[in-house]
Amino acid sequence: MTLSAYCRHFAVILLLASQNLSAAEIDPARITFDNTRDRIYQIRVMDISANTRSSTGSGFLIGDNGSIATNYHVIASAISSPDKYRIEILQEDEVMRYIGTIVHVDVVHDLAILSTEIKATDFLTLATQAPAKGDRVYSIGYPYDLGVTVVPGTYNGLIPHSASPRVHFTGSLNPGMSGGPAFNGDNEVIGVNVATSGNQVSFLVPVHNLHDLVAEATTSPPKDLNRAIAEQLAANSERMITEMLEGNWETVTLGGANALNEVTGFLRCWGNSRDEDKATDDRPFWAQRMCQTDHNIFVNRGFNTGKIELQFYWIESATLNGAQFYNYYESIFSGYRPGNSGREQDLGNWACQEGFVDNDASVNTKSVFCARAYKEFEGIYDILFLQGSMDDKTEAHMIHFTLAGTTQDLAMRFTRRFMEAGAW
């Protein structure tokens, strides 16, 4: 080769090398973003009569019929009041606005699938394998009204003790990004943005739940969304209560009686008691143990369900007489509250029954059982149960649980097991 040809080749090689070097300096977040942003949309729930947006979120294209995946909570109001709200789907340029129709929802995992008139056929790919802890993931969505944004973060595995599977994502998600996708390094969706706790602690719904929902929507799409939700709540309650019934019912000491421990993985327990050393008065000594699931299932603004709470409460007094102690005991016994809340359009009023029950451990108790029905979801109830001992003049034990969003059969099986738990 002549020198000039050699120089030219060398120049070309240098040029190519330099180009490769700068390619390596482009942030992978940007690459992911560039590759996927055209299939990610903002979802606006519009109040039809006011013609303003009532809430916003994000969604992404996953299949035929312009199928958009998002969170259930982003479009929840459109399910309960379909005449009041319209779902609009658009991108940053706001050129095309598509109307979304709800195809299927998963209220337990907070997912929804909408169909639209979007003609694009190039869908996002759903990953089939979960990332490894420490892998970099990229979350994309439409935070507030700041336009489409990419948030890089770290995959930190599934959260332990969670009532439904959630991925811990170390990155700063914020509310408008709900329903948007989170990608691995291969531009595959590994999760759906769902919530944040601030301080770079955020959560994703694992993609396998979306797989399941898509499969169900394809094979047997629901005709009645409320019926589907009722079935999901019942199935979720069945899963949780069955796991509890098969769990570890060993007791621990609480005062002069017993309490249950973490019966199963998704219950978190803690206890506290009156600090006798710091006490300045003669009120009775109390000790309590409380176990509950970590989060509620959002059904609508102001209405949540799914929670399971257990509580064991011990009181005793060395200074009060019987009449005074029972007056104090009554004030506690009368003040129990449910673990979830709802609005008048969602829930009926409580129906209660009280009675004296001599349980199998030969303890005289006053027992209360209350239930309230869900107006839109047939066969689903909230339950409140309470049992207080009546044997002793100056000490007492109360056992209590609330179940939100369960069925009559499950509630009764659980009640029986709970009464026989040996907390006496």
Binding site: Q324, D360, N364
Partner: protein, 319 residues
């Protein structure tokens, strides 16, 4: 000449009846008068009453220092009829003819008489002690070991004792205005009784009903008790403090009681469908010695639960 009968009342003495025989009755403080008034504000020779004309007597004031009055107006020379009330100094003379109409005797068993005869101080003190004791007992059983603040106790006890006095005072004012006598002590006693009776019966009812859980029928009973006591109290107080006829009193009392019942029914009925986030269950607990019945077994309790679900379903049905 028709001799009058004169009722003389001097301050500090009980009234006496005098049958003067003189045709010209001399009245004054001097001891040689026909009617001697032991009153320092009466002149020694204060007035003359001429009784010669039947049915109308002539009164003449003898230019006394403080003058004389008939009813409210001053009199120097005037004609008196039966029933006229004269005031000389601080003494009162009421002049009657012998055939003056007298009212028939009151019955000793008349309700009003029986009520106003219960005006003894000893009875009042006794009732106040009972009320104080019941308040103290109530405070004692409610004590839960928290710091006792003396000002709270004083406020509660003072309130419990002053409230009946104030209410009775209101009715006493009505009595004074309509009847001339306040009858305050009798009213205080009646008010105290009206407070004590429910305070005594209510806990009794709660205790009796403790073994029958389910608060709604008990609440009905207690409300009925309060309305009955309130109605009886109103009737009694109207009897003592006003001059209304029995029929009007009965009618007013019945109207007030019916109005109270109607208002309660309306508030209950209108809030029946009100949405409540928390359950309203009967959480009454009492000392274990008051639990006389044995409880049901776990099985029986479980068998009773389906009816709760049925009731819950009924509550979500659209009316």
């Amino acid at each position: 000449m028709v001799a009058p009968v004169i009722r003389v009342t001097t301050e500090g003495t009980t009234s006496r009846l005098i049958h003067p025989t003189a045709s010209r009755v001399r009245i004054g403080r001097a001891l040689d008068n026909d009617i001697v008034l032991d009153d320092p504000y009466v002149d020694p020779y204060h007035a003359i009453l001429d009784t010669r004309e039947p049915g109308s007597w002539q009164f003449t004031d003898l230019k006394s220092r403080n003058g004389s009055r008939e009813g409210r107006r001053p009199i120097e020379n005037g004609t008196l009829k039966s029933g006229a009330l004269l005031t000389l100094g601080k003494s009162q003379l009421q002049v009657f003819s012998r055939d003056h109409h007298t009212a028939p005797a009151l019955s000793l068993y008349d309700l009003e008489h029986r009520l106003i005869s219960h005006d003894g101080i000893r009875l009042m003190v006794g009732l106040l002690c009972v009320l104080a004791a019941m308040s103290a007992l109530s405070l004692f059983t409610r004590y839960d070991g928290s710091e006792i603040r003396l000002e709270n106790i004083i406020a509660i006890v003072a309130g419990a004792l002053f409230a009946p006095v104030i209410v009775a005072g209101f009715w006493a004012l009505i009595a004074k205005l309509t009847r001339g006598h306040s009858r305050f002590r009798a009213l205080v006693n009646v008010t105290l009784v009206a407070l004590i009776v429910p305070l005594f019966i209510e806990p009794l009812l709660y205790t009796l009903y403790f073994n029958l859980p389910g608060a709604s029928s008990l609440n009905l009973l207690v409300t009925g008790l309060n309305i009955s006591v309130g109605g009886a109290y109103l009737y009694i107080v109207l009897t003592i403090a006003t001059e209304l006829s029995p029929r009007i009193r009965q009618f007013s009392t019945a109207t007030v009681m019916v109005a109270a019942v109607v208002m309660l029914v309306i508030t209950q009925w209108s809030s029946r469908d009100e949405f409540a986030q928390n359950p309203a269950y009967d959480g009454r607990l009492m000392h274990p010695t008051l639990l006389v019945r044995s409880g049901m077994s776990n099985d029986e309790f479980m068998r009773s639960l389906p009816s709760v679900f049925e009731h819950a379903d009924v509550l979500i049905k659209e009316p």
